[in-house]
């Protein structure tokens, strides 16, 4: 078991900077998820921790040891790849035992570990099959088994679920969560799927363009996104953004005007002045159908999606902004009609011109 820490890690390929000044610490036994759009550098960062890529600068520590110069095998890590990367010409047993042969594990011990891992992952009846005779989910379990037998301090997962179909993905997600509870090992997991991030992580690292945008517990990121990028990335459907302006400011209390309505919010002191442009954010699920309340948005309905347990109303405001409202249950709103949604002030997010949240601390 070990903690992982990154200090000023940077990576560039030629003149292209992939990662810039990454600082992060992962506690022992924590489940950390790197999430971000494709090309944000999250996979590269994982490969750097694994030792499959070198860094252009900075330091990586696993446990108390600096591992920059260590090859992957000596870092006490095990990695599960998106493509599973099973050796196609070896059966399941050999796939799992292959690495142990080179770690100088004695045969009886290796056999015991492989059988134990197979037991945990329900692979025992499949031990003598070749990878091509397995389904996607089974291959994924073999790949995880190969990681388990190495008895690593840190598990690294590189988008392990993206090749599975939707139903299997949910199952495997639960299995990975259970595995983390059972093994108690440190796990670092890369995904572009925010649902995986929200459900698995004890800590989410949101990345964008080679930088860490925000680090925090899943609900913390949901409730208090630090900037526009995180606000838009976490949550589905994504948060609505409406351009607005500071009308008046008195102490911490700012009156914001947006889309023909206004709202009074508590902002951090000294961050805004009257007349400043702001972006107001409101999650679709926090809006309420109907006009009860001081702050509400009116518009015409572009489209309605009925999901049964809820409905999404896509409306266009007079100001030209597009807004999605999630109404619970079924709705009788129809495309072409007009719609009014109440905006509770406590659910508002406010970002300044540079996209950073200016809300005062709130519980």
């Amino acid at each position: 078991m070990a903690e992982v820490s990154l200090h000023g890690v940077a990576k560039s390929f030629g003149a292209t900077e992939i990662l810039r000044d990454i600082n992060l610490s992962v506690d022992d036994g924590e489940f950390v998820v790197f999430v971000g759009p494709s090309g944000c550098g999250k996979s590269t960062l994982l490969r750097i921790i694994a030792g499959l890529e070198t860094v252009s600068g900075g330091e990586i520590r696993i446990g108390s040891q600096r591992v920059n110069e260590l090859p992957p095998a000596d870092r006490k890590i095990a990695m599960v790849f998106q493509s599973y990367a099973l050796y196609p010409h070896m059966n399941v047993y050999k796939n799992m035992a292959f690495g142990l042969k080179f770690a100088k594990t004695d045969k009886a011990e290796a056999d015991r570990r492989v059988r134990q891992a197979a037991e945990i992952l329900k692979l025992t009846p499949l031990l003598h099959r070749k990878p091509r005779e397995l389904s996607g989910g089974q291959r994924q379990r073999v790949a995880i088994g190969r990681a388990i037998v190495r008895n690593p301090s840190v598990f690294l997962f590189d988008e392990p679920l993206s090749n599975l179909d939707a139903a299997l993905r949910v199952n495997t997600r639960l299995e990975i969560a259970k595995l983390h509870r059972d093994l108690g090992a440190t796990m670092i997991y890369v995904t572009h799927d925010q649902v995986e991030a929200m459900t698995l992580a004890s800590k989410i690292v949101v990345m964008n363009q080679g930088r860490i945008e925000q680090v925090g517990a899943p609900l913390e990121l949901y409730r208090r996104p630090g900037n526009l990028f995180v606000a838009g990335f976490i949550g589905s459907p994504r948060m609505n953004f409406i351009k607005g302006q500071v009308l008046r400011i008195a102490g911490n209390s700012a009156t914001l005007g947006f889309a023909g309505t206004d709202a009074v919010v508590n902002v951090a002191p000294g961050r805004l002045a009257a007349g400043d442009p702001v972006t107001v954010g409101i999650r679709p699920e926090h809006m309420e159908a109907g006009g009860a309340g001081a702050t509400s948005l009116h518009g015409t309905i572009d489209a309605v999606e009925q999901l049964g347990e809820s409905s999404y109303v896509y409306m266009k405001l007079a100001s030209g902004d597009d807004v999605i409202v999630r109404a619970p249950g079924e709705t009788d709103a129809a495309a072409g009609g007009s719609y009014t949604a109440h905006v509770p002030t406590r659910a508002l997010h406010v970002f300044d011109a540079s996209g950073v949240s200016v809300l005062a601390e709130r519980i």
């Binding site: 490969r47 694994a50 030792g51 499959l52 090859p71 992957p72 095998a73 000596d74 890590i77 095990a78 990695m79 790849f81 998106q82 493509s83 599973y84 990367a85 099973l86 050796y87 196609p88 010409h89 292959f98 690495g99 080179f102 770690a103 190969r146 190495r150």
Partner: protein, 275 residues
């Protein structure tokens, strides 16, 4: 399956080509078992009761060291083949997997080797072999054939190695497998169809070559089978029975090896396209 005109045309072309390719082999085989008179009177006829004879084979075994020539050819071919495949695969792995200074240049240099026929250098090669005291040795032939076969082998094998997912090598590295082990335990088994392809492409020209045996190892019991056959072809009289008989014997092993490899060959040639 419907037979569209385009399909029929393709098949006709393929059948014509097959006849063209197999014709000479077929001619050699049937005429090897005929009397000299029958060979000239009816070159396309099958041997029958009157024309059947094995005199060519008798003469080959009686008048020449056929066994020795055969052994020489086999040694040269097999050793060259093993060296080309082994060194070729290792070089292909190094060139595709590791980025180092001069990587591109070496790749280009080897590509030139495919385009420039090695026979252009015959004089220099002969001089070099004389200085190295390797004339009239099988080693000389093997060295030349390895040089001749390597560029194409590296090109083909490199192409295949590139198709092996990079994750596989990374997974092995995480497993603590050494680079040598990755090559021998993972890469080599996975490119075996490509190796069969390279083996066939390399084996046939080496086995059939007359040029280098003639200039580098023409005597001292080091003749290969193609050279051995030449002694039956005289300036004035050619012993056609013996020539055809020894050619038949020379074809047999390549044909057998080709049939052995061809199953993999087809897989190797199509592996990139169908996945």
């Amino acid at each position: 399956m419907t037979l569209r005109p385009g399909r029929i045309a393709v098949h006709i072309a393929l059948i014509l080509y097959t006849i063209l390719a197999l014709g000479p082999i077929f001619l050699i085989l049937i005429n090897a078992f005929k009397t000299r008179r029958a060979i000239f009177a009816d070159p396309l006829g099958f041997p029958n009761g009157q024309t059947f004879t094995t005199i060519g084979f008798d003469r080959v075994f009686a008048n020449s060291d056929f066994g020795l020539y055969f052994f020489n050819s086999l040694t040269v071919t097999v050793v060259s083949l093993v060296l080309i495949v082994l060194i070729g695969a290792m070089a292909a792995w190094a060139l595709t997997e590791y980025k180092f200074r001069g990587n591109m240049l070496i790749g280009l240099y080897l590509a030139i080797g495919i385009m420039v026929p090695i026979r252009l250098g015959s004089v220099s090669i002969l001089r070099m072999m004389v200085e190295l005291n390797l004339v009239n040795t099988l080693t000389a032939l093997i060295l030349v054939y390895v040089a001749q076969g390597l560029p194409l082998a590296i090109l083909i094998l490199g192409e295949f190695i590139q198709q092996i997912p990079k994750d596989l090598r990374d997974a092995a590295r995480c497993d603590g497998v050494s680079e040598y082990r990755i090559f021998f335990s993972i890469i080599l088994p996975l490119i075996s169809p490509a190796i069969a392809t390279v083996a066939v492409f390399t084996m046939v020209p080496v086995w059939n070559d007359l040029w280098f045996p003639l200039i580098l190892a023409p005597g001292d019991g080091k003749q290969t089978i193609t050279l051995g056959v030449q002694q039956f072809i005289g300036q004035y009289v050619t012993d056609w029975n013996a020539v055809l008989a020894s050619l038949t014997l020379a074809i047999a092993p390549v044909l057998a090896l080709y049939l052995l490899f061809s199953r993999y060959l087809v897989r190797g040639l199509t592996a990139g396209a169908v996945k």
